[in-house]
């Protein structure tokens, strides 16, 4: 599996570098223009992994790389699991980069003269719980999107799979909203803080550790189940 993970990361090395630079620019622009560190952190955590997920899947289909990769000493299971692990590595790396970005921005703000400081970008308005909460929750959301998108992509390839992935995503989100919305099927059953999907993510602005942990756990379980399904689907795929 180490070979597959390295294959993915080496293949995307240049693209990740380019994505990193453009993402850094986007994050700075968002932070300055929107006066929101939280929004720029969310952009860093979401943008690179999301683009990684679909770019690496697109690279698979170019020049028969996916077919050739199966001739390397890697089993089909290792290919499937390796893709999940490389995605997880990118998500975790981006969350760490986002935290680092927050530290740098806050340090720069502290160093500026008082009249140039932007309170919205300073530590007082962005305590560690908020910074970590946003990064982890957005990372978890991306893992959840990957968990839903990867099985059809692994089974049918990027071209066909991306036609199916949005359908799966929309159906599941619609189903989730139907379950949890006001007067939805589970509305009365859920604890107060989880009454709606909106409320679930609204906690990103507050230090709600239990909800963050629940989100991480759900995302990781979904991701693991998705990996098992993808491995099964990929074993039967014909090239």
């Amino acid at each position: 599996m180490r070979a597959m993970i390295a294959t993915d990361l080496v293949t995307m090395k240049n693209a990740l570098l380019q994505l990193g630079i453009s993402c850094a620019v986007v994050a700075v622009v968002i932070a300055v223009m929107m006066q929101s560190l939280v929004a720029s952190l969310a952009a860093i955590c979401a943008m690179i992994p999301f683009m990684y997920l679909f770019s690496i899947s697109a690279y698979d289909e170019m020049n028969g790389w996916e077919r050739f990769r199966l001739t390397l000493p890697i089993s089909r299971k290792q290919v499937a699991y390796g893709r999940y692990v490389s995605t997880l590595i990118v998500v975790i790396a981006c969350c760490l980069i986002a935290v680092l970005f927050a530290v740098v921005v806050m340090a720069v703000m502290e160093a500026l003269p008082a009249d140039m400081q932007q309170p919205a970008l300073m530590a007082t308005e962005n305590p560690p719980a908020v910074v970590f909460g946003v990064c982890v929750r957005v990372g978890a959301l991306i893992l959840f999107v990957a968990a839903l998108s990867l099985p059809p992509i692994m089974r049918f390839g990027m071209t066909k799979g991306t036609r199916l992935a949005p359908v799966v995503l929309i159906m599941l989100f619609a189903f989730g909203i139907w379950l949890t919305a006001d007067n939805g099927l589970l509305d009365a059953e859920l604890p107060g803080g989880l009454g709606t999907m909106n409320e679930l993510f609204a906690h990103a602005n507050g230090p709600s550790i239990p909800i963050t942990l629940i989100i991480i756990a759900v995302a990781l379980i979904a991701f693991a189940i998705s990996a098992l399904i993808s491995a099964k689907l990929y074993e039967r795929r014909q090239f």
Partner: protein, 294 residues
């Protein structure tokens, strides 16, 4: 001698096309060339051998790895196989040094010095991106990658297609070096029959999913011949011992009839007044696939 590849009753069926059932052997230390028209089933056969697709039936052994129960070659077996497909499969944005990095991670037996030497002899620099390589350079990179982990078996699918004669010659030299110790084997599909004439020990022809012939190269390029006779002489030829069990293959031309004879020396003795030329692999293929049976 041990076989690098043994396929028995191998079959794969698609809508509108069926491969096999066919049987094939590639002995260790030999080069087997696979020829046939477009769509004949060459790539499907190679995909079966590489377990890229799962055969519907048959017994397949690749380097002692029996694939009857499993759909996939084991990573240990794949480690002993070098593969060059019809395009340079590495991602376009990657640099040549990235490809070396892949090789180092993927293969325990990766020989970086050998890879560097092969690239150097091909004029490929490590900083070049795959997208900046010409087709010939890309295929040389693929072959260098395939050779640098010291495989026991090379499987090539149209690896020399689209290359200029000089680039093809360089690739053939690399392949000759690979097989000269007698411990390595090559199974290569190619439309370029002159490459196979230079390199192959056996030629397997496939058409419409079936093996049409599987012969030593000498039987085709040294022994077989093309006789140029008149229409009136055909009946006598058909009854002669020069015709094999399957009959004579003929192609009619404007002023003569070309006849494929399996043994041109015997034919020359039996019919000294009929001119007979040495057959090339192209001639043999043309006569076998397009000729009518007398």
């Amino acid at each position: 001698m041990q076989d690098a590849i043994v396929a028995k009753g191998l079959a794969k069926r698609y809508d509108g096309f069926a491969l096999g059932p066919l049987s094939l052997e590639v002995q260790t230390g030999t080069v087997v060339g696979l020829v046939g028209a477009n769509g004949a089933g060459k790539t499907t056969l190679i995909k079966c051998l590489l377990s890229l697709i799962e055969p519907d039936a048959g017994h397949l052994v690749v380097l002692d790895d029996v694939l009857d129960e499993r759909a996939d070659l084991s990573p240990a077996t794949k480690e002993r196989i070098g593969v060059v497909l019809d395009t340079c499969a590495f991602t376009q944005e990657s640099r040549v040094c990235d490809i070396a990095q892949l090789g180092r991670v993927a293969y325990r037996t990766w020989d970086q010095a050998r890879f560097d030497a092969l690239l150097c002899s091909s004029g490929i620099t490590p900083k070049k991106r795959v997208k900046d390589l010409s087709r010939g350079m890309g295929m040389k990179l693929s072959l260098a990658f395939a050779l640098s982990h010291d495989p026991d078996l090379l499987i090539l699918d149209e690896a020399t297609a689209g290359l200029d004669p000089l680039a093809r010659d360089e690739m053939l030299d690399m392949l000759r070096t690979f097989i000269e110790d007698g411990a390595h084997s090559i199974f290569m599909a190619s439309h370029i029959t002159s490459d196979l004439e230079k390199l192959a020990d056996r030629i397997v022809c496939i058409d419409d999913g079936q093996i049409i012939f599987d012969l030593p190269k000498e039987a085709i390029c040294d022994e077989a011949g093309i006789a140029h006779c008149r229409e009136a002489q055909l009946a006598a030829l058909a009854e002669s011992p020069c015709a094999d069990a399957g009959g004579l293959r003929i192609l009619r031309e404007a002023y003569s009839v070309n006849v494929l004879v399996p043994d041109r020396f015997a034919f020359g003795r039996a019919f000294p007044d009929i001119p007979v030329d040495k057959a090339s692999l192209d001639d043999y293929l043309m006569m076998t696939l397009k000729g009518e049976v007398l």
